[in-house]
Structure formats: structure tokens, C-alpha cells
């Protein structure tokens, strides 16, 4: 089985994001970049399927500037087999990214594409669904698992996605009101949610090995794909600021305030 996993370079989720005064973007000075946390979960799941789900080749894909090679190296150090970096400098929307992935997925003859359900920078939550549509493949978004992250199954590193004879997969999804289970025939696209697994850290030998693993660079222009964005970001503004209110001295005071002043209870 061949598994393609997407890896996006995004600002550290713990960083404070500030909008530039001219509204053209965010302030990137001293900003640390990491693997999109959802993509990290995707990499972990692919590695578990490789180790405990009947074997697989795990191929990482990133699209962006040359600097994204750092995030691909992180994924290779976790244990992925090889990586592809599509070099693209301009701004891409989700549909353009899905088109690029469509081409790569077809060229690589992947059986399964694993992606984070959203990237924590643009918060779009679209690319996996769009890729599935372009490929004409079934999709399962927001993949989770029935057991909690504190369960024995999780401690044993058992994959949440259940591959059935290399032909199909059962996926538990986080939806409104509970957990839904779908069965998808391969090939398929699965986007992953927070509770699918806890990603491993790269080991020192893993980091050493990663240096020698293949990382192929492909200029986006060579793919012959229209990547002109349909969704255009015209400007950014900081959100309305909330003022910190006041501290109350006791539970009695709090309840009285909510009752008499705010009139919510």
C-alpha cells in the first residue's frame, strides 16, 4: 500500500499572531514554524499503518517555499520513507493545492491520502475534501477513534483507521452529536482530527537516517497546472479586542452581578 501524507509548514500554534499594520499579512519576525499539528497526526497514523496495519510506503508531500524542507525532514525523522516538495512561491488557495495533490497522487498511484483536517494558519478545512472530489474518490473527514487518547489501544500504538485486507478502511469520524463510522473502498482520502493519535517524537537515530532519505523537489510550473487562486485574501485586520473586566471577590458577588447587572440568570 502507498500512503501519501501532506505536510504544511505553519506558524507555531503557541505563537502570538499579530496582523501587520498595513493589513498585508501577519508579522513574521522571529516566528517559529512547525509541521501543521493535524498533519503530524496524519504522519503518525501512516506510520502506524505501516508498522501494524500490514505494511506501506509512506510518502510526504509539501507545497511551498524551500524552507518547507525543514518540516518534511521532521516527518522523515519520524519514520516516513521519502518526501516530495513542490516549490511554489505565490499564494495558493485550497483548490490550487488540491489540484497539485491530484497530480501527485495520480503520478504516485497512491492508495490512501492522509491529510490534517485543517491547517492552523488559514483554518480553511477544505483541501482534503476538494482532492477527493477531483480524484472521484470517497472521503472520510475528521478521522478519530472510538478509544480515548488515554486508552491502552493508544498506548500500544494501534492505528485508529482499520484497513480491511488492503481493500477498504473503516474510519471513525468526529461529527456533531457523536462518532460516526464509515467504510470506504480504496483508493480514498482521509482527513484526521485531534483524537486519532498522539504523534511520536523523532528519535536521534531517526533524525540521522532522515538526512539520507530522498527529498525530491518539483517546481510547480513544471506540473502544468492552473494554480491561480480563486479565493483571494484582500486584507487582514486584527479582531475586535475584548477588554478584561473586573475580578469579583466571592461566589455570592458573582451570582448577584450576573443576576442584577447582567441579567443573564
Amino acid at each position: 500500500m502507498k500512503i501519501l501524507v501532506t505536510v504544511k509548514r505553519v506558524p507555531d500554534p503557541n505563537a502570538t499572531i499579530k496582523v501587520k499594520p498595513d493589513g498585508t499579512g501577519i508579522v513574521t519576525d522571529n516566528l517559529k514554524y512547525v509541521v501543521n499539528p493535524f498533519d503530524e497526526i496524519g504522519i503518525e497514523e501512516a506510520l502506524r499503518l505501516k508498522d501494524k496495519g500490514g505494511g506501506a510506503e509512506v510518502i510526504l508531500v509539501s507545497i511551498g517555499a524551500k524552507t518547507a524542507s525543514e518540516q518534511l525532514r521532521t516527518g522523515l525523522a519520524m519514520g516516513a520513507d521519502r518526501a516530495i516538495l513542490v516549490l511554489a512561491e505565490g499564494e495558493l488557495d485550497s483548490l490550487a493545492v488540491a489540484r497539485i495533490l491530484h497530480k501527485l497522487t495520480t503520478d504516485e498511484k497512491a492508495d490512501l491520502v492522509l491529510m490534517g483536517k485543517q491547517a492552523i494558519d488559514d483554518d480553511a478545512n477544505q483541501t482534503g475534501q476538494m482532492l477527493a472530489a477531483l480524484l472521484g474518490w470517497p472521503q472520510a473527514t475528521f478521522a478519530s477513534k472510538a478509544e480515548s487518547l488515554e486508552s491502552d489501544a493508544e498506548k500500544q500504538g494501534i492505528p485508529g483507521i482499520v484497513v480491511e485486507g488492503g481493500k477498504s478502511a473503516k474510519v471513525v469520524r468526529e461529527v456533531d452529536g457523536g462518532l460516526e463510522t464509515l467504510q470506504l473502498p480504496f483508493p480514498a482520502v482521509v482527513t484526521v482530527d485531534l483524537r486519532l493519535n498522539t504523534p511520536r517524537y523523532a528519535s536521534l537515530p531517526g533524525i540521522m537516517k532522515a538526512r539520507k532519505k530522498e527529498m525530491k523537489e518539483i517546481p510547480v510550473d513544471s506540473l502544468g497546472i492552473d494554480v491561480k487562486p480563486k479565493l483571494k485574501i484582500l486584507k487582514l485586520d486584527p479582531p475586535a479586542k475584548r477588554q478584561a473586566g473586573r475580578k469579583v471577590g466571592s461566589v455570592q458577588e458573582l451570582v448577584q452581578v450576573l443576576h442584577n447587572e447582567v441579567k443573564v440568570i
Binding site: E174, L182, L234, V257, V262
Partner: protein, 322 residues
């Protein structure tokens, strides 16, 4: 003419409030695009829902009635909807950023070769839209080139539609190619609750890691939730630890809520959590760490041990209501 089509999600054979919010957003978009607002209901045996939806001042409700649409899956729904949007010359397709909307709308967009804006907060008069990025730390003004355009709206940013002139109902053949539906629904493990729906509740009481266990959620937090007639929410840390079901997570990647009153109990206030609740009208934080970032967005803060303060609060609220 910029006609708008709104996807009417239904659950348990009912139109939830979120669907009426989508209708209100769709009407707003149609007014600004100089067109009419239409609705579409997908499923099997859903004529009554279409008739009910038609009462909310939409021009017409299309019914895609087909066995392949009986149980929602993205592949069949997207194929049928993309065809309808093409056939009817729709300019903007609108849905909500609910779990179904997030799953479905991008798939429809790609089938139409369309751009999509997600979690839209407002439609501007010039055709641009506002949407959050970076966990709500930036509000982007965006435009979509070409048509049709696909938009999911954030349900806390619009009021629900009220009843208006009754529109028509038109049945449309779905003609779903069997190759377009390969996903099989296996089961749905529903988290049953008699409490208000998290995204619709007037009051939300959320608990964090400081509650320490699922048992404490039951014995300490739930009495407050119920005394206040509130919905219960949780921080990611509490959900990850398995204290409460996933469905209760409030935050950037969970549910976004904006109730009249939000009470954060034992939640420190990570950026990702704030992204899901900072538009609440009044925010109250109870936390024993007076440096917790949650206090920076709270209207009223109480620095206290939750295990002492919460039971006291239950008594005070009960006294008030007695």
C-alpha cells in the same frame, strides 16, 4: 442576477436552528448580490421538511429525494448538489460550518471548479466577505473569483431566519450515478443528552483540565450546568484526557459558541480555546491561577478553587431560582 442556494441540513428529521441561520445568511447574500434565495433539502421522504423550510421566506425549495441520499455521505450529496447548482445557474451556494457543512461544501466546490470561503462572518455590500484566520487572530476580507461561489457561514455570526412569504417547493430528480456513491455508512454512536445544544444554548458552562477527571465533571460541574439550564462544553485538554465526549470541545478546531453567558471553569485560556468562545456576550472565568490568560478576556473573574467555588455557586443559583 446572483441567485443563492442554501443547503438545508436536517437531523432526526427536523430542521435545526443552524439551518435557519444558513437561510438568514443566504437571504443576506442574495440581497447583496441582487438575486433570490433558494433552499435545497436532500434525503428520502423529506417533502414535509421542504414545505416547512419554504415558510422561511425563500423563493423556492428544491427537493432532491433519492434513496442514495437517505443517509448523508459526502460523495453522493456533493454529486447531486453540484448538478443542481449547474442546472439552476446558481451564483452562490451557502451552507453552515457544521460537521456536515465542512465535510460537504468543499467537495461541491471542487466538483464545480469553484473557489470557497469557509466560516464566513459577514457578506459585504461589494461582494467581499469576512472570515477568521489564525485561530481568530486575524479577520480576512476575501473575494471569490468567478461563479458559482461556495460559502460556509459561521453559525454564531448570523441570527436565525424568521417566517416570511411562503415559497414554492419543486421536486428535482437526483440522478446519482452509482459510481458516485461508494462510501458505506456503518454506524452512528450518538452522545445523548437532555441539555441544550452547545452551539444554540443561551448559557454555556465549560470545564477544563483542572477538573481532573470525568467523575468530577459529573459530580462537580454538571450540577452547575443543570442549575443554570446551560449546555456543557470543555477545553481540548479535558476532551483529550477522555473526561468528556469529543463533541463538547469548544475552540478553534471544535465548536464555536457565542452564548449570552459563557462560564469557563478551570480553563487556562489557550489561544485555541479563546478562538471558540471569545464572541460570547458575557464571559466569566473561575480559576485558581490569577495569571491565567482566560482572565484577560473575561468580564468577571473569580480567583478561587473550583472544587469549593462551583458547589457554592450551585447553591446560590438554586436560592435565586427558588
Amino acid at each position: 442576477m446572483g441567485n443563492v442556494l442554501v443547503f438545508a441540513e436536517h437531523q432526526h428529521h427536523k430542521l435545526p436552528k443552524t439551518t435557519l441561520i444558513a437561510i438568514a445568511a443566504g437571504k443576506d447574500a442574495a440581497a447583496k448580490a441582487g438575486g433570490d434565495c433558494y433552499g435545497v433539502v436532500c434525503g428520502k421522504g423529506v417533502d414535509d421538511l421542504a414545505n416547512e423550510l419554504a415558510e422561511y421566506g425563500v423563493k423556492k425549495v428544491f427537493v432532491l429525494d433519492d434513496a442514495a441520499l437517505e443517509h448523508y455521505t459526502a460523495d453522493a450529496h456533493a454529486a447531486a448538489l453540484a448538478q443542481l447548482i449547474k442546472d439552476k445557474g446558481i451564483e452562490i451556494f451557502v451552507g453552515t460550518a457544521t460537521a456536515v457543512g465542512k465535510d460537504l461544501l468543499p467537495r461541491v466546490a471542487a466538483l464545480l471548479n469553484s473557489g470557497m470561503a469557509g466560516e464566513v462572518l459577514a457578506f459585504n455590500a461589494d461582494g467581499t466577505m469576512q472570515r477568521p484566520m489564525y485561530a481568530g487572530n486575524a479577520i480576512a476580507t476575501v473575494s471569490i473569483e468567478g461563479a458559482p461561489k461556495v460559502v460556509s457561514v459561521r453559525v454564531t455570526a448570523f441570527d436565525a431566519a424568521s417566517k416570511g412569504t411562503k415559497g414554492e417547493v419543486e421536486k428535482v430528480a437526483a440522478n446519482i450515478d452509482s459510481a458516485a456513491k461508494t462510501t458505506k455508512f456503518v454506524e452512528f454512536n450518538e452522545v445523548k443528552s437532555d441539555r441544550p445544544v452547545l452551539t444554540e444554548a443561551r448559557i454555556v458552562v465549560s470545564g477544563g483540565r483542572a477538573l481532573k477527571s470525568g467523575e468530577n465533571f459529573k459530580t462537580v460541574l454538571e450540577p452547575l450546568v443543570d442549575a443554570m439550564g446551560a449546555a456543557m462544553g470543555a477545553s481540548r485538554a479535558a476532551v483529550d484526557a477522555g473526561f468528556v465526549p469529543n463533541d463538547l470541545q469548544v475552540g478553534q478546531t471544535g465548536k464555536v459558541v457565542a452564548p449570552q453567558l459563557y462560564i469557563a471553569v478551570g480553563i487556562s485560556g489557550a489561544i485555541q480555546h479563546l478562538a471558540g468562545m471569545k464572541d460570547s456576550k458575557v464571559i466569566v472565568a473561575i480559576n485558581k491561577d490569577e495569571e491565567a490568560p482566560i482572565f484577560q478576556v473575561s468580564d468577571y473573574g473569580l480567583v478561587a478553587d473550583l472544587f469549593k467555588a462551583v458547589p457554592e455557586m450551585v447553591e446560590e443559583v438554586k436560592k435565586l431560582k427558588a
